[in-house]
Symmetry: D2
Amino acid sequence: PYPNFTPEEAGRVAAATTSAREYLAESYDPWEAEREGWVGDRVIRELGERGLTGLFIDEQYGGLGLSQTGYCRVMEEFGRVDAALSVVMGVHQSIGSKPLFLYGTDDQKARWLPDLAAGRKLAAFVLTEPNVGSDAFHLETWAERQSDGSWLLNGEKRWIGNGDRDVLTVFAQSDLGHVALIVEKGMDGLSTGPRFETLGLKANHLQRVHFKNVRVPAENLLGEPGDGFRIAMNTLNNGRMSMGTAISGGMKQFLQLSIEHTTTRQQFGRPLIDFELVEDKLAWMNTQIYGLESTSYLTTGLVDRGVADFALESAMTKVRASDTGWYALNRAVQVHGGEAYMADHPLSKALRDFRIFPIFEGSNDVMRAYVALNGLKALSEDL
Amino acid sequence: PYPNFTPEEAGRVAAATTSAREYLAESYDPWEAEREGWVGDRVIRELGERGLTGLFIDEQYGGLGLSQTGYCRVMEEFGRVDAALSVVMGVHQSIGSKPLFLYGTDDQKARWLPDLAAGRKLAAFVLTEPNVGSDAFHLETWAERQSDGSWLLNGEKRWIGNGDRDVLTVFAQSDLGHVALIVEKGMDGLSTGPRFETLGLKANHLQRVHFKNVRVPAENLLGEPGDGFRIAMNTLNNGRMSMGTAISGGMKQFLQLSIEHTTTRQQFGRPLIDFELVEDKLAWMNTQIYGLESTSYLTTGLVDRGVADFALESAMTKVRASDTGWYALNRAVQVHGGEAYMADHPLSKALRDFRIFPIFEGSNDVMRAYVALNGLKALSEDL
Amino acid sequence: PYPNFTPEEAGRVAAATTSAREYLAESYDPWEAEREGWVGDRVIRELGERGLTGLFIDEQYGGLGLSQTGYCRVMEEFGRVDAALSVVMGVHQSIGSKPLFLYGTDDQKARWLPDLAAGRKLAAFVLTEPNVGSDAFHLETWAERQSDGSWLLNGEKRWIGNGDRDVLTVFAQSDLGHVALIVEKGMDGLSTGPRFETLGLKANHLQRVHFKNVRVPAENLLGEPGDGFRIAMNTLNNGRMSMGTAISGGMKQFLQLSIEHTTTRQQFGRPLIDFELVEDKLAWMNTQIYGLESTSYLTTGLVDRGVADFALESAMTKVRASDTGWYALNRAVQVHGGEAYMADHPLSKALRDFRIFPIFEGSNDVMRAYVALNGLKALSEDL
Amino acid sequence: PYPNFTPEEAGRVAAATTSAREYLAESYDPWEAEREGWVGDRVIRELGERGLTGLFIDEQYGGLGLSQTGYCRVMEEFGRVDAALSVVMGVHQSIGSKPLFLYGTDDQKARWLPDLAAGRKLAAFVLTEPNVGSDAFHLETWAERQSDGSWLLNGEKRWIGNGDRDVLTVFAQSDLGHVALIVEKGMDGLSTGPRFETLGLKANHLQRVHFKNVRVPAENLLGEPGDGFRIAMNTLNNGRMSMGTAISGGMKQFLQLSIEHTTTRQQFGRPLIDFELVEDKLAWMNTQIYGLESTSYLTTGLVDRGVADFALESAMTKVRASDTGWYALNRAVQVHGGEAYMADHPLSKALRDFRIFPIFEGSNDVMRAYVALNGLKALSEDL
Ligand SMILES: Cc1cc2nc3c(=O)[nH]c(=O)nc-3n(C[C@H](O)[C@H](O)[C@H](O)COP(=O)(O)OP(=O)(O)OC[C@H]3O[C@@H](n4cnc5c(N)ncnc54)[C@H](O)[C@@H]3O)c2cc1C
Ligand SMILES: Cc1cc2nc3c(=O)[nH]c(=O)nc-3n(C[C@H](O)[C@H](O)[C@H](O)COP(=O)(O)OP(=O)(O)OC[C@H]3O[C@@H](n4cnc5c(N)ncnc54)[C@H](O)[C@@H]3O)c2cc1C
Ligand SMILES: Cc1cc2nc3c(=O)[nH]c(=O)nc-3n(C[C@H](O)[C@H](O)[C@H](O)COP(=O)(O)OP(=O)(O)OC[C@H]3O[C@@H](n4cnc5c(N)ncnc54)[C@H](O)[C@@H]3O)c2cc1C
Ligand SMILES: Cc1cc2nc3c(=O)[nH]c(=O)nc-3n(C[C@H](O)[C@H](O)[C@H](O)COP(=O)(O)OP(=O)(O)OC[C@H]3O[C@@H](n4cnc5c(N)ncnc54)[C@H](O)[C@@H]3O)c2cc1C
């Protein structure tokens, strides 16, 4: 089921999709990225050369200028090949570059977006702290407004993808409310590490980030003082859709592998696919992929049509995608039997990678409470 | 989330939807229909006057000529008010009139569709037999081709909605393969009854139908001899989508009732909605409604765009709609506590009505095996 | 899996079980009870003659003196034949007579237990009010202590099984805390009705109960003033186990019916049991029955061994039994296809009856929060 | 809930349990075992010195002579500390030494059991082959009976725990039906490797085993020719119970960790445990642990009482334990948020370890079909 594009965008999306698919098939090895603990600077550069690191960034800044739908369509390709790569791309684009894209002034955009679009620089979204996870409002990182309008930043952030890279949107509290500040690699007082080792997504560079009297110039403030929390939330709302399509990309891989395996592996004198309990699992996966795609692209369509508030739809898409992605994976594993348990099997890697989706960018439990509470008013009116 | 119509159709759909909504609010009482064991001839007539019994039938035959999407949109309204009414409308339109609509010659259409569109006559889909349920291929009802081209029909059908009404598409085996024959009320040798009493859907008139040497004229054959099974299956494929939207209409009612109840009922000094386990249930319902609508209308969109084969998508929509409709209902019941268990509570009626959806028009278990098997080839190519 | 009794009790339990089984097979018709809206006074009398209305009541008061395990074993037989009958028996014994059994003085026991044991009188447990459901602490019914030690009772209760019968344990607030008072039919100011009509359990006589200045003598107070809430809670803790075994009795019936149906009904040229998705459902049911029985009888064993606190185990048994009973029933219905949907099919009746179990005697959602909170301390110590 | 032992066995079980618990707390490090890819020869030796490698082996052969219940109780301790260790112990005892224990002649027992009991030698269960997984009947490994009564063994086995160790019970086909042969390390023609690398259970040494004209003496045959399949199946039936209790040991660890985390970690100004969705997860875990323990020990009790056939109960215990163990783990992970995703967190290790349980020693899907089919006759009689 493909979303409706204008013929013109359809062409650009198809080109980007094909470009991604071909490039990844030839030049990207998820296992090597795992071993290296990083998708690789070469890969980033080459993706950048193809425009794939600036998918939604405006063409004037060197991006491909894709719609939300187009962007999410390409993310599906990343997700299909490697969840870790899709997360790195998501960190850089969906949440890393997005604040600038949504809230940057022309000057700010001109300054940072071209490098980000081209993949010469990588972006990070710097929100979570040791004491701040689901409750992203009560940040402890503090930005003290200086007399010259600059900010003095102190605090510690954890679990930050690309945290040791180039362009960091950092969220902090201040006397004037929450602020979102662009911090650049190399600033005095900024340090990172040690790196976090995780169960999966090992090619995603996850960092601790420390701010010790980092002086951030006034012109690095995104939006107005007090806008910080809104910027963080809107960025996440916006970013959750591409997680959905990256996951459905992964689910397609699971289904493909499962079809291949169950049509060739024989037991009891028959291919496994002949057993109804196997059929049931494949059918379930297929049904969920179909459902997830319809929901994701309905939601991206809302964004592209300029609907003002899609926070609810976006949250629902995230919750369902991450839950059903996990269940689909477990079914795929089950029909593979012992083979999926081998360390070098893609499903075994996926088991390590996919477990994070119901947790990050908003734990599903918290998202559900959010959907109920924030959705309530709208619901009773619209239903 | 509303589907995309051309502005012209959007207007007609909106008119039909509003007409249905207003009429039902004023003039239809689900409880009275239950007590009567029939939605009521008056209701049928008045729905007919509004065009609501011929939603997709071409305007030249007096129908509203709605697309599949438009048709399903209006079915949502029926489902929202009463599952039983949505089934009666579904039997008459989705599966009763549909074979004629899809496979009738111009003569056949001209002969029967105007009365069906106007609700002056009701249609039935006559497939199931005592020994024939999920395995609809091995029919025992027999049609013996006579020398004059007419057919002599013998056999027994069970669980036939509108079985005692006017225009019956009857499926039978014959020496020439499966046939689909239009049988009309009043033909010699046709008898019905006794009526089946069911757990729910009590306003749906469910009949046993007997054929004892019923002579069916040659011109009442739909399609060619041998087409019967294909006609039955394609009709069902086509009909399953509106079951999906009727169910999501019902789910909206469940959610609405649940919001109303949990914001007003207090326990432990707080409205029930303040408890996370309640929020979780409402959020789940909302997420599923959103998912189901996207899937349903994506699927109807396929049909309307003329995609040749949507059997898989249609089956997946049916399975998911009927499963999640049931789960949603159970959550709604749970947050209502003892109140939902009172015989006169709408959720208590819904518990009786909704349990059939995972069973009829293709048992979900069989549908899942079908999705796996038939979907397999396409899947491996398309994914 | 049968629990361990002393040989002596084993004999008595077997006798009671057989007596119940035989009596019910011959003399009890669930459908007639449904139509009458009451299990029938004759049935109560005849059960009483067999000792089956006083299963755990001491022999000196005319009961059978069974242990908790023995009692629950017999309740399984009731549950197997008719959920409604098991509820009536549960109301009378598990929660109706239990407060007297647990907290009555010798005088009180001598006064009321003989009639209750013999089924000459029926007991009720009178806790729930229009504004008091899950939060059973904040009762609005008020008992005003009089100078002579008697109580003046005012208030309204709803959804009370046997509410119009003989011996009512009524819970109320007072200046001295919660009280549990024995109210007898015929007292001035006591009135009942109208009866509540429910989705299922139609043979359970469910009443509204009104107290208008009912004067309850001092000697009708159970325990001390202030004990009321504890008496109510301990009674429920005690009663929840027999709901568990009544449900597993029902599940055995579902499984039995499903085996019979799927070994005889053929589709696609094979008995339904040959399909793995059918096998899977039967296996699931069997596994759950086995699990539920082990848990239930482990718990009743705790009680019989004199373990002081089994509130947690009892709550866990209730939650699991009522959830899995419902899931098992849904699987049984599914493998029966359309037949289970006929109004006169036992599974269709069960669908109406069983939906209440996750709601009453403590809504499962509230029970789960309770298990987490109250279980926590014990857990961290014992694990 | 503790099982009933005779006072005498209770003492021995308590001693073994305590010994295991203390030893593991002091001297076993799951992370080191992971890094080494083996629990360690020192650990095996020290466990052996405490009798923990010969738990059920008769005292005359140097074992502790525990009942099935006692054995499973101790396995819980292993499972609580490290799933990999519990698997190594299970391979050695539940399935490795068990065939000799159940089917060995006195001579065979005297020859091998003492070393196995003392942990001087390790046992393996050698059934699975590249083309033989769930369908364990159609083995390709072939044993050719020689004129001197010895057997010439050819074939390849895969995924064999302890496959490179000392005493291997190898299953093969022969002209005389299935045979079970004791193969010893060092025999000519026996070779192993390379080792399989797996997602988890990294301390379990998993081997490919090759037989090239291995000559196995006549006296190494277990039972009679033709008994092989029965020996394999009965061993597995016997072994599945200890997997159940090892898993519930693990679940206790998950719950313990979750209680600790959610009572200390704060978000939104409250400890996580205060959120109902968190409570619900902990309660679910606790309820399942309780249920699983009751079922497991009811089943071991059957074995200890000498009940002849417990295959069904054993299969049901395995399926439920492995399913609910996985669900419990996922809940524990969820309430830990990002922390559980760190590579050095015990739950992150558990995610890698526990996914195998629904697959090995009988894939759960196959077990369910087995329960339905084999359970059927018994069920219809006993219910
Ligand atoms: C691999 C990885 C990559 C990440 N990348 C980034 C990044 O690039 N930038 C960034 O800023 N952050 C990042 N994060 C952080 C991530 O967004 C947080 O982990 C997430 O927001 C959850 O916070 P927490 O882990 O602190 O969980 P907590 O907030 O401690 O919550 C733990 C659990 O408690 C429960 N819970 C909490 N509150 C409630 C409630 N109100 N109701 C019910 N249940 C509740 C939920 O089950 C939840 O899962 C990353 C994390 C990981 C693991
Ligand atoms: C209220 C109601 C209205 C109806 N209206 C109509 C109507 O208007 N016209 C009409 O023609 N029919 C109608 N039907 C019939 C309906 O379509 C059938 O009930 C349905 O097709 C299933 O057939 P069955 O009930 O005979 O179930 P069976 O075919 O006997 O199947 C029973 C169960 O067995 C299992 N099963 C069967 N085959 C398989 C398999 N291959 N793999 C796995 N599991 C399997 C499934 O769990 C299934 O639910 C109606 C039925 C009802 C109850
Ligand atoms: C057929 C029937 C027979 C009965 N018989 C008797 C009887 O004999 N005697 C008697 O005294 N009572 C009886 N009752 C009453 C029964 O015990 C109550 O219905 C039950 O306690 C639940 O109360 P409620 O229905 O008022 O639900 P509410 O308390 O209003 O709760 C409704 C729902 O809200 C949610 N909820 C409530 N609190 C929380 C929370 N803290 N956290 C999360 N979710 C929450 C749950 O989903 C719950 O199901 C009977 C009821 C019925 C229907
Ligand atoms: C870590 C590990 C340790 C092991 N240790 C040992 C050991 O020590 N000794 C030993 O002999 N073996 C061992 N095994 C092998 C293990 O027992 C097998 O993996 C298991 O029996 C399943 O076989 P399979 O993996 O070949 O799956 P397959 O038989 O190929 O089955 C794959 C999947 O197909 C489906 N399926 C298969 N048949 C049916 C059916 N009839 N109906 C429905 N679905 C079906 C199921 O979903 C199943 O999971 C080990 C395996 C692993 C991974």
